[in-house]
C-alpha cells in the first residue's frame, strides 16, 4: 500500500505539482480507496447474513438475482435509494440528517488501522488500539442524535437503551483489548499482529495466537463485541421480531440503510479487530515466504468470525435487559479486571518468558473455570426459586424446567 501511494506521489510530482499538494492528493486517494472498500464489503456481508440465516431456518435464501443471489443486495439498495425520503414533522433537521452519516463515518474510519497483510496497513498509528476505542464513541453519539431528533418518544427511549448497552459493554471490551497491548508493550496493531508468530527452528509457523495465551480475555472480548455490535443475544435494542425498530424507527429509505450498513460493518470490523488482537491477524503457516498468503489468512479468519456471529444469531435466544446489564457489571467487569491485574503481576514477578506464559494461561483458565462454576450454580438456584414460586412441587429436584401454566 505504501508503494502505491509512493508511486502516485512521484507521478504527481512529475506533473509539476508542489510537494505538499501532491502529498495531500496521494493521501486522499489512499483514504478514498480504503473507504470505498467498506460499502462493497457490506454487500457481501448482507448476502452472507441472509444465506446463513436462511439455511438455519431451512430456507434457501436469495437465489434469483445474480449467481447464488449475490446481486440481491444491490437490487435492495437501488430500491431503498428510490424510496421517498420521509421526514417526521417537527424533527430537528440538522441532527436528523447528520446522525446516519455520523454512524457510518465512525465505522468506516476503522479501516485505516486494519492490518491486512505484512506491511499492508492504511496507517500504523502508534495509538492504534486507543484510536479504535475512541471511534466507538462516535457511534454512541450518532444513536443519541438519531433518537432525539426523530421527535418520537419511542426513538428517544431506544436511544437511551443503546447508550446504556454500548457504554456498559465498552468497559470490558476495552479492558480485554489491554491484554495483548500489555503483553506486546505497544498499541500498534501491526506490531501486535507481528508478535503473534511462533518460530520453531527459525521457521515461522504463525500460530502463536494470543487466544492460546489468554483465552479468557479473548472470550470476554468476543462477548462484549457481540454486545457492541448489537447482535444476538444482545440485540434487544432492536428486537426485530417484537419491536418495530430501535432508535431509527423514524428513518426510511437511504437514511435507514445507512444505519443498517453501519451495523453490518461494525459487526465485521469488531470481528476483524478480534482477529488482529487474539487470532493472529495475517499470521499463518508460510506467511513469511509468501506475504500474499496473509491477505487470505486474514480474510478467512475475519469472515469465519462473521459467520460465527450469524450462527449465534440464528440459534441463541435473546437476553433480558436486566440480565444484560448485570452480566456486564457483575460478571465481565470484575473478571476482566482481575485478569488484567494477574497479568500485570505475572509479567513483573516471573522472570523467564515461559513462566510468564504459563502463569497468564493458568490464570485465564482458572478464572474462567470459577466464573462458569459460579454462574451455573446461580442459574440452578434461580430455577429452583422459580419452581418453588410458581411450579408444581413435583418439578423440584429435577432438571425439567418450569414451562408455565
Amino acid at each position: 500500500m505504501e508503494q502505491w501511494s509512493e508511486s502516485l506521489f512521484n507521478l504527481l510530482g512529475g506533473l509539476g505539482l508542489p510537494q505538499e499538494v501532491s502529498t495531500i492528493i496521494a493521501l486522499a486517494v489512499g483514504a478514498l480507496v480504503l473507504a470505498s472498500v467498506a460499502p462493497v464489503l457490506a454487500l457481501v456481508l448482507i448476502w452472507i447474513t441472509r444465506k446463513v440465516i436462511s439455511r438455519m431456518q431451512d430456507r434457501i435464501g436469495p437465489n434469483r438475482i445474480g449467481p447464488f443471489g449475490l446481486l440481491q443486495t444491490v437490487a435492495d439498495a437501488l430500491k431503498l435509494l428510490s424510496k421517498e425520503d420521509i421526514r417526521p414533522a417537527n424533527a430537528d433537521f440538522l441532527s436528523y440528517a447528520l446522525a446516519p452519516i455520523l454512524s457510518v463515518f465512525g465505522v468506516i474510519l476503522t479501516v485505516a488501522v486494519v492490518a491486512i497483510a505484512p506491511g499492508w496497513i492504511g496507517a500504523d498509528l502508534n495509538i492504534g488500539v486507543l484510536y479504535l476505542v475512541a471511534l466507538g464513541s462516535i457511534g454512541i453519539m450518532a444513536a443519541l442524535m438519531a433518537g432525539w431528533s426523530s421527535n418520537n418518544k419511542y426513538a428517544l427511549l431506544a436511544g437511551f437503551r443503546v447508550v446504556a448497552q454500548l457504554l456498559s459493554y465498552e468497559i470490558p471490551m476495552v479492558l480485554a483489548m489491554l491484554g495483548p497491548v500489555l503483553w506486546v508493550g505497544s498499541m500498534r496493531l501491526g506490531l501486535i499482529t507481528e508478535a503473534q508468530s511462533l518460530n520453531i527452528f527459525g521457521f515461522n509457523l504463525g500460530l502463536g495466537w494470543f487466544v492460546i495465551l489468554m483465552p479468557g480475555m479473548a472470550l470476554i472480548y468476543l462477548i462484549s463485541a457481540l454486545a457492541e455490535s448489537e447482535q444476538t443475544p444482545f440485540d434487544l435494542l432492536e428486537a426485530e421480531s417484537e419491536l418495530i425498530a430501535g432508535f431509527h424507527i423514524e428513518y426510511s429509505g437511504m437514511k435507514f440503510a445507512m444505519f443498517f450498513l453501519a451495523q453490518f460493518l461494525n459487526t465485521f470490523f469488531l470481528g476483524a479487530i478480534g482477529v488482529m488482537l487474539f487470532f493472529g491477524g495475517w499470521q499463518g503457516p508460510f506467511v513469511d515466504q509468501l506475504p500474499i498468503l496473509g491477505v487470505f489468512y486474514f480474510l478467512i479468519k475475519a469472515f469465519a468470525f462473521y459467520v460465527l456471529v450469524m450462527w449465534i444469531k440464528g440459534t441463541f435466544p435473546r437476553v433480558r435487559v436486566d440480565q444484560m446489564m448485570s452480566f456486564a457489571w457483575k460478571v465481565l467487569v470484575p473478571l476482566v479486571l482481575s485478569l488484567i491485574l494477574w497479568q500485570m503481576l505475572a509479567m513483573k514477578l516471573f522472570g523467564p518468558v515461559w513462566l510468564q506464559y504459563v502463569a497468564v494461561l493458568a490464570g485465564n483458565v482458572i478464572a474462567i473455570g470459577i466464573v462458569v462454576n459460579v454462574l451455573t450454580s446461580h442459574f440452578k438456584q434461580e430455577q429452583v426459586r422459580t419452581k418453588r414460586a410458581f411450579g408444581p412441587k413435583s418439578l423440584i429436584g429435577t432438571m425439567q424446567p418450569y414451562a408455565g401454566d
Partner: protein, 197 residues
C-alpha cells in the same frame, strides 16, 4: 499589552502576506474556524441539545488541532474522554430534564454581563501571554528552546511510554488522588441513587 498585540499582528501580517500559506496553516484555519463557530454556537444556541452537539463539534475540532501538532495520544484521548464520555453524559442530563428538551430557551440570563466581563478578562490575559511568549522561529530553534518545555522533545511511541512513566513516578500523588476522587464520586452516586428504606 495593546502595543504588543499590535506588534504581533503586524509581524503576522509581514510574515504571511508575501508567502503562500503552508498546508499546516491551511489545515489549522480549516480546524480553527469550525472550532470557534461551534464554540459560539454552544453559548448562543436557543436549544440546549444543539448547544451540546456544538460542544461535541468544538471538542472534535480541537482534537484535530492536537493531531496537527503531532500530539496523537492527546487527540485520541480528547475524543475518547470528552466526546465519548463527558458529552454523552451532558446530553443524557439534558435529555432527562423535561422542558429543556424542546422549545427555545434564551441563551442570556442574569449572569450574562458578569460572564462576558470575566471572559473578556480571560481573553486579554491569554492573548497577552501568547504575545509575550518568545516563540521560536523554526524547528531547529524549537529543539534548543530555552523555555525548558520543548528542550527534550520526544516523538512517536516514546510519548506514551514516558507519559506512563511520569504518571507512576513524578506525578504519582496527583494520579492516585485522581483515582480516589473518581472512587468517591462513584460511591457518592451509588449512595444518592439507591433505594431509601
Amino acid at each position: 499589552m495593546i502595543e504588543q498585540l499590535n506588534q504581533l499582528i503586524e509581524q503576522l501580517l509581514i510574515q504571511t502576506a508575501p508567502t503562500v500559506p503552508s498546508i499546516q496553516q491551511v489545515v489549522f484555519v480549516m480546524l480553527a474556524i469550525p472550532a470557534a463557530v461551534a464554540a459560539l454556537m454552544v453559548v448562543l444556541a436557543r436549544n440546549l441539545f444543539h448547544s451540546a452537539l456544538a460542544l461535541v463539534g468544538t471538542l472534535f475540532a480541537v482534537a484535530g488541532i492536537y493531531a496537527l501538532l503531532e500530539a496523537e495520544f492527546l487527540a485520541v484521548s480528547q475524543i475518547l474522554v470528552y466526546v465519548g464520555a463527558i458529552s454523552t453524559l451532558i446530553t443524557f442530563a439534558i435529555m432527562l430534564t423535561r422542558g429543556m428538551m424542546y422549545g427555545a430557551t434564551s441563551p442570556l440570563n442574569r449572569q450574562a454581563g458578569t460572564a462576558i466581563m470575566i471572559m473578556g478578562l480571560l481573553f486579554a490575559v491569554l492573548s497577552g501571554l501568547v504575545a509575550s511568549m518568545p516563540w521560536p522561529e523554526n524547528l531547529v530553534a524549537l529543539e534548543t528552546f530555552s523555555w525548558g518545555i520543548f528542550s527534550n522533545r520526544i516523538t512517536g511511541e516514546a510519548i506514551i511510554a514516558s507519559l506512563g512513566q511520569k504518571f507512576l513516578t513524578t506525578y504519582l500523588v496527583p494520579f492516585e488522588l485522581m483515582a480516589v476522587l473518581l472512587l468517591v464520586a462513584l460511591a457518592g452516586a451509588i449512595l444518592l441513587a439507591r433505594d431509601r428504606q
